[in-house]
């Protein structure tokens, strides 16, 4: 390479990022939303908005379980938390096959104790979460390969971007608005440097979460890995996950269902159980009596308080083996991943017997060995499971800056080459992809949320329709970008996206059974925060529209006097005089 290190790094930075920049933008944008996937799913399930917090959710849970599955082998209770206000319940019938260990499932309102049976099927935040690491409509392996390769190129772009900057921190404090290319450079640098540690961390950790795919010589999926959808691919985590993990996931995913099919399947099982209540209960009671399993009274509320005191943190999950019998075993688990070093065995647990005596108590010892510890910390950082609300917002805003960094980088490339390369095939291709990849992505996201409320709640396969709305909106934007981008492409697509996001809160309060005042009264800040973020997104998009509109109305460069260019030297005094 000629031209020295800085020039080589500039070339590497430009091209390593450009060839995948639209994938990276989509990955960053959807990945950023994934920090709030449970909250997005809550917003996208308006039937849950009526759910009200309760001081006695455990009473509601046990009352419901006793009425529906009094003689189940196990009960699983996921208590409401700051991310979801509903109770998630699972139970496993006696003799139920192992592969059905997730059992039936119900989501109930903790205050009223009634099941929310009619909740709509939605792809929710899970679609965005999964999209950010395996895309959609292609095989899982192919999606992970694409995202993995794009992440590797992003990692190269970040490191080469740091090397190429002469004065990276001085540049950070420079912003030159209204200077065209210089403004884009400044926006790109600010977005990059402000959250640089986050960008490095999220890219690097994203890479090794996809290592099962990228490092085929490692053994990949065969050795354990990441064939399962819910996990990002950490083979170690999957392989070493404790036996109870699927049950826990089942309880949690009661609020964020992985797929529509799964949701339908679970609901079907629950309906079946409820429809056949009487004979089923009688049959089970007889079997229970045969086994000398007499119902005994267990003060779960008291055990709950004891468990919290012993663990030193709020209880999040409860599982009860042989519930309400003399052989009962009640296990309370704390917040699943409350520290960065949780990795395996990071959840404190306390188990009681039916007499209320502690039979087992475990505290998180963390992972064994330095490698597992480092891996666990890095993995937690990427997934943000450890994060409380404030930290989650910080991660979210860092993700927004990452999205700005990628988007401004893409636009910077076009801006720099507009004069020389406009009309050339490569330049026009990048311009079209920039428009569809950036503005179009916002339109698609807005359409996805709108589809969630417009498609009737009882439509078959509606979660697939939500996803189709996302993809169709994106495709329309791409077609517009390819054929009509010069007809105010940016202005129109950003305005459409801005409008979609601006009216999302209105749509929310019109179509949700709980209005704005109800949401405030119920303290449903998850939902209100979503609406506020939608309004802020709309404000950002409309600001961009305003500047583009202003720019379109100002005379073109050719017609403006160029202040930088010196006026032609007068040929002679006569010309000067004239």
């Amino acid at each position: 390479m000629k031209g020295g290190l800085r020039k080589s790094m500039t070339w590497l930075h430009t091209w390593s990022s450009l060839i995948v920049i639209w994938v990276l933008f989509a990955v960053f944008l959807t990945g950023t939303t994934a920090f709030f996937r449970a909250e997005i799913t809550h917003w996208m399930t308006p039937e849950h908005h009526l759910s009200v917090k309760s001081d006695t959710p455990l009473v509601s849970a046990t009352d419901y379980l006793q009425s529906v599955a009094p003689f189940a082998e196990t009960w699983q209770i996921s208590l409401p938390d700051s991310r979801s206000p509903v109770l998630g319940l699972n139970w496993q019938a006696e003799g139920e096959e192992r592969q059905r260990r997730r059992g039936a499932r119900a989501v109930i309102d903790p205050a009223s104790g009634t099941a929310i049976d009619d909740a709509r099927e939605t792809a929710g935040g899970n679609f965005l979460f999964r999209f950010h690491y395996e895309l959609y409509g292609i095989s899982r392996e192919a999606g992970r390969w694409i995202v993995g390769a794009a992440s590797m190129l992003m990692f190269i772009a970040i490191i080469s971007g740091i090397i190429m900057h002469r004065k990276i921190f001085a540049d950070f404090f420079t912003f030159r608005p209204g200077k065209k290319t210089a403004s884009w450079v400044d926006a790109h640098v600010v977005g990059s440097v402000l959250a640089l540690p986050f960008h490095i961390m999220i890219t690097f950790t994203g890479l090794f979460l996809l290592a099962g795919t990228l490092l085929f010589w490692q053994g990949g999926n065969e050795r354990g890995g990441n064939e399962r959808g819910g996990n990002q691919g950490g083979p170690q985590q999957e392989r070493g996950a404790p036996e109870r993990a699927p049950q826990e996931r089942g309880a949690r995913e009661g609020r964020t269902p992985d797929t529509a099919q799964e949701e339908r399947g679970q609901r079907q099982r629950m309906t079946t159980a409820q429809e056949g209540d009487e004979p089923e209960q009688t049959r089970r009671r007889t079997r229970a009596e045969d086994n000398n399993r007499e119902a005994v009274a267990i003060d779960l509320e008291d055990l709950y308080q004891q468990a919290q005191a012993l663990m030193g943190q709020p209880v999040h999950d409860i599982s009860i083996e042989k519930p309400m019998t003399a052989d009962a075993s009640i296990t309370f688990r704390g917040s699943e991943k409350s520290s960065l070093s949780h990795f395996r065995g990071g959840t404190p647990e306390v188990t009681f017997n039916a007499l209320g005596e502690v039979t087992e108590e475990s505290t998180p010892e963390g992972a064994e060995g330095i490698v597992a510890k480092v891996y666990g910390v890095l993995r937690s950082l990427h997934e943000g499971h450890f994060a409380d609300t404030l930290t989650r917002w910080l991660l979210f805003f860092s993700g927004v800056l990452g999205t700005v960094m990628v988007g401004s980088g893409a636009l910077l490339w076009s801006q720099k080459r507009e004069r020389q390369q406009a009309g050339q095939r490569g330049y026009e291709l990048v311009s079209a992809l920039n428009l569809a990849g950036i503005a179009g992505m916002f339109v698609a996201l807005g359409a996805y949320f709108w589809a969630n409320r417009i498609i009737p709640a009882d439509t078959e396969g509606r979660s697939d329709l939500e996803i189709q709305a996302f993809l169709i909106a994106w495709l329309i934007c791409l077609l517009y970008a390819v054929f009509l981008r010069k007809k105010h492409g940016w202005l129109i697509q950003l305005a459409v996206a801005g409008t979609l996001f601006a009216f999302l809160p209105v749509l929310d309060f019109v179509t949700s059974p709980a209005g704005l005042l109800d949401a405030i009264a119920a303290g449903d800040w998850v939902r209100i925060s979503f609406d506020i973020v939608a309004l802020l997104t709309a404000a950002g998009l409309w600001t961009a529209v305003y500047y583009l509109y202003k720019k379109a109305r100002t005379p073109g460069r050719k017609n403006r006097p160029d202040k930088r260019r010196p006026s032609p030297r007068p040929q002679n005094k006569q010309e000067t005089a004239s």
Partner: protein, 93 residues
């Protein structure tokens, strides 16, 4: 780009950095694995973390060297020597 000279040498450099760099990162990771003695889960965690650091470093180095020939030669030689060492050390995939 002024920083580049010739289409084919550049293509060769990109391929060397991408493919040769991948192979070199792999063997560096495997050798480190032999040295550290990690096995099973720990070995996979270790390789997952180390590989990408090695890979990005090699790509950056591959593009920071002025001469195309030197870059290609260096990565080819590095691969030859390290894969040989790994083989002699009794390594197997």
């Amino acid at each position: 780009m002024a920083a580049l000279s010739g289409r084919w040498p550049l293509t060769a450099r990109i391929l060397t950095a991408a493919v040769g760099g991948y192979a070199l990162s792999t063997v560096i990771t495997l050798l480190l694995l032999l040295v550290t003695g990690f096995e099973g889960r720990e070995a996979r965690m270790f390789t997952s973390m180390i590989f990408f650091i090695a890979y990005v470093t090699i790509v950056i180095v591959a593009f920071s060297i002025q001469s195309h020939k030197k870059t290609i030669g260096l990565i080819a030689a590095g691969n030859g020597v390290l894969w040989g060492a790994w083989y002699l050390a009794g390594g197997e995939l």
